[in-house]
C-alpha cells in the first residue's frame, strides 16, 4: 500500500487489487500495459481475466525447515507479463507453458497476486 494520499496510476492499481481486481492500462494503440504508468493515464483501464501462461519459473529450495517456494514470470492472457509465485505445484514438475489462474491474497499491509494451476 502506498498511503491514502497517493492518487496516481500505481495507487489506483493498489486500490483495485485490494478489491480483488487486477487492472491493466490501455496504451494509445489499445494494447494492455503493466505496470501502470503516468504516460498511459489517458486511455483507461481494463480488468485482467487472471488467466495466464507460465513464461519462466525458478524454485528457491531454501534451507530446512523452510519449504521450497518459487518465483515465476506469467504472461497474462491480455498480454502483459507479471512476476508472481505459482502455488500448489511440485518442485520437479515442468512448469513453463502451464496454464494458470490468478488469485489475490493478503500480503502484509497490502495484497499480492499468486497463481494456481488450471484444472
Amino acid at each position: 500500500m502506498s498511503g491514502d494520499r497517493m492518487s496516481g496510476p500505481a495507487a489506483i492499481w493498489d486500490a483495485a487489487l485490494a478489491e480483488g481486481r487486477i487492472l491493466l492500462q490501455r496504451g494509445p494503440d489499445g494494447a494492455a500495459l503493466f505496470p501502470p504508468r503516468i504516460l498511459a493515464a489517458d486511455h483507461g483501464w481494463v480488468e485482467a481475466s487472471g488467466r495466464g501462461t507460465v513464461y519462466s519459473l525458478s524454485w528457491i529450495p531454501g534451507r530446512p525447515p523452510a519449504e521450497p517456494r518459487n518465483v515465476a514470470l506469467v504472461d497474462l492472457a491480455e498480454g502483459p507479463r507479471v512476476m508472481a509465485p505459482v502455488v500448489g505445484i511440485a518442485p520437479d514438475a515442468p512448469a513453463i507453458g502451464m496454464a494458470v489462474q490468478a488469485r489475490i491474497e493478503p500480503d502484509g499491509e497490502g495484497h499480492r497476486i499468486v497463481f494456481g494451476a488450471v484444472g
Binding site: 525458478s58 524454485w59 529450495p61 517456494r69 514470470l73 507479471v82 512476476m83 513453463i96 497490502g110
Partner: protein
Amino acid sequence: MGDRFPRGRVAVAGLATWGVGTCPGHTTLEMAAQATRLALADAGMPVAAVDGVFVCLPDDLFAGLSLAQALGLHPRFTDNNRTGGASFMSHLVTACLMLDAGYLDCAVIAYGSNQRSAGGRLATPAAPDRWDAPSRPLFPVSYYALAAARHMHQYGTTRDHLAEVAVAARRWAQTNPEADARGPLTIAECLAARMIATPLSVRDCCLVTDGAAALVLRRTGEIDGPRVPVLGAAAATWYNSVRAAADITVTAAAESGPRAMAMAGVTPGGIDVVQLYDAFTINTILFLEDLGFCAKGEGGPFVAGGAIAPGGRLAVNTNGGGLSCCHPGMYGMFAMVEAVRQIRGTAANPVPGADVALAHGNGGTLSAQATVIFGSAATV
C-alpha cells in the same frame, strides 16, 4: 545521427587494482582512493592533474563528491552514474567524449568495495521494484535464474553447459595470482552443488569478495608511456526489471555490442580476447550470443568441451571473471582492467598477439548493458 565516437583518440594511460580478494579494515572510499593513487602513479600523472572524477561506490550516493574530497581535488566534473555493474563502462563513454572535446584533460574512473570483509553478503541498497517485490525473489539471483530456466526451455541449454562456464573461469583463475578462487573445480562438482535458485547452484554464482580498481584516461596523443586506445563504447538500457523483456533470453548487449563494434570498426571475428560480466554462468552464454560470437540459442554448445577455457576456441574471462577471480559487487571495472592488461601484455594469462579486446558490463538484473572495445596502438 547518434553514436559519434572519437575512435582511438582517448586511451587508458594507467590502471591499478588494489585489495582484490580480502581487504579488511578499509572503507569503500579508502579502497577507491588507493586504487586511484596507484593508477595515477602507473600513468605517471600527479593526483593534482585529475580534473574529471568518475566513480561508483556501493554505499555512497555522493561518491563523486567523496572521492574528490578524499583525493584533495576540485575537479571540473564528477559523474556518479549508477547503472550497476556496467556503471564504469558508462563512465568511460562520458569521459572519452569529454576528453576528446577538451572539456577535461585527465579523467579517473574508480571503484572500491569491501563487500566480503563488511559481512560476506552483497552489500547493496538495490532491490526488486514495487511490482516484483511481493513475490520475494532472491535479489539478484532469481532474475538470472528465470532467464536461465527460459533459455533451457527455449534452446535446450543444459546445466552441463552452465557448469562449463564455471569450470572454464576456474581454469583461467588457477594461473592468475590475483584470482580469489583457484582450487580445482569439475563439472560434476558444479552439478552436485547446492541449489540457490533453480537452475542455478552456488557454483553458477559469482564470488563475494573485496576489491578496488581504477583507470586513468587521457587524450591518446598526449600520453608518453603505454597507452591503450578506446576504439568504441556503447551503453544500452532496455528496462529495470527483466519482467519487461520481450524475450528474456535476449539482453541489451544485442544493442550495445553491435554499436560499440561499429564505432570501433570491428566484428566479433576480429576480437582477440573477451571479458564478460559473469555474475552468473548464464550471463556468459547470453552475452556470447548477444554480442555475436555465436547465434542466439547456441551459447551452450558454443562453450561446451572447454571451448572458452585456456586453449579453447575463444579466450573469455582470462582473469577468472566474477565467478573465480573477484566479484566485489560491481564487476564491470575488472572486466575493463583485464581487457586493458591483455592489450598491454601484462595480464597473468596473456593471449599472444591480442590487438583488440572487448569488455562487457552488465547492470541491474540483465537490465543495462555496456560494451567497450580497446585496441593496441596498431589499431589506431
